[in-house]
Amino acid sequence: MKIIKITKIKNQIKKLIKTASFNLPEDITDSIRQACSAEKNNTAKKILELILKNSEIAAKKKIPLCQDCGNVYIDIKIGENICIEKFSFLQDMADEAVAEAYKENYLRKSIVSDPLFDRINTKDNTPAYLSIVPADTLDGLEINVFLKGGGSENCSFLYMLTPSDSADAIISKVLDAVRQNVTKSCPPVIIGIGIGATSSKVTELARKAAFRNLKIRNADDKYKILENSILEKINNTGIGPAGLGGMTTALAVNIEYMPCHMATLPVAVSFACHSLRRASSKILLP
């Protein structure tokens, strides 16, 4: 059994929050650059250029990419024979990491304590949304941090379709969701779609899909074709960056799927804004 100190995980989380807040991932900047050179609409081109310029300023001056510094999702994958010292304090430790990172880096604290009645700001952006996943091929630990803003979070949808529905039903739900909501998020967006599992699990799949590296396409050809077809239809709407017209409404459509009950076809959609904040690192103990 190999032991990982909980403080080591905390320091990694703090580092990842900082990286994600100030640095747009390379797959996103590459995709925006490509979209920018393909755009024929001048306003769209200009906005895509501003997004790239924004990422340069954020990295150089350490000003957050977006004023909405987000909810913090932390996914930790734990490999074989790994033991986290003081494991039962993992949530407390994650919250401490978030509170310290948000204070030290002048990030906005956006979480309110009671969701309905008091809505008092927790002033430290906690709690973190922590999930732990076993990973048998990993010699150590992998930490993934995702920061998701409220505007895009509000554009999240769950549809319990029926098994007789086809891919067309999903296409039509996603297109409606985009047409009605995308300007409330920050287009160009990344659309994450979860298919299968259960009503609660499928929204998790959609969130993971929204944060998936844009260079990774679905390994299954049928789903890959569906991803491409939905992307094309979204970009044919002409909504464009900031909703001001153009062919870049979405940068990607990512699908993640799982088996589901024979009576169900759960589908969830999650929007991620162009200011996609994710960072990942491994603590290896070979």
Binding site: I51, N54, I57, Q67, Y106, N121, A242, G243, L244
Partner: protein, 180 residues
């Protein structure tokens, strides 16, 4: 067409603006979003003093990130306007003349904006480090307990915007789709 505007706005400034126009705005604007709107409306309803004069003012739907030492501003950018659709009419009645946000809003609100002659501007979302470079000064002036949802007085210079709804009832989001 690109036009320069200065706050506070006057009716002459906005009557000729057209949806789709690019605007470069300078002067004082007021940051206020969800929770601040609720308090402003409570104050209006109970005839209490408001944190700032609404007549001719421009409200920016923003919750800025904290100002790091040695800088004039943290990150600033528009939040989703549609959440304020049901919280806007009392402010329009008091003479609010401009709103800065992001995204399309509901039909009812669009009609109210036209009725009370208030321009809806949008700034592209998620370019908040860039927009920070257009801020000369930012200070919290009311409801400090709300944290990022407090009311902020923000001095902007050459702040880049688009006219989204003009007072003739044109809508940039519909025009953008028609042009495609």
């Amino acid at each position: 067409m690109t036009q320069r505007l200065k706050t506070p706005l006057k009716e002459d400034d906005i009557s000729s603006l057209k949806a789709g126009d690019e605007i470069i705005l300078s002067g004082i604007i007021y940051g206020a979003r969800d929770a601040a709107h609720k308090r402003i409306i409570e104050s209006i309803n109970s005839n209490q003093k408001l944190p700032f004069e609404l007549k001719g003012s421009v409200i920016f739907y923003v919750g800025p990130s904290p100002v790091p030492p040695g800088r004039k501003s943290g990150a600033v950018g528009p939040t989703t306007s549609a959440r304020m659709d049901s919280l806007t009419e009392p402010l329009l009645k008091k003479g609010l003349m401009g709103i800065i946000g992001k995204g399309d809003r509901n039909n009812h609100l669009r009609k109210l904006m036209q009725k009370y002659k208030c321009i809806y501007f949008i700034a592209p979302g998620g370019i908040s480090a860039f927009l920070a470079s257009k801020i000369k000064d930012i200070k919290e002036i009311a409801y400090n307990d709300l944290g990022p949802e407090a009311v902020f007085e923000i001095e902007v210079k050459d702040f880049p915007l688009f006219v989204a709804y003009d007072i003739q009832g044109n809508n940039i989001f519909e025009l953008a789709l028609r042009r495609e």
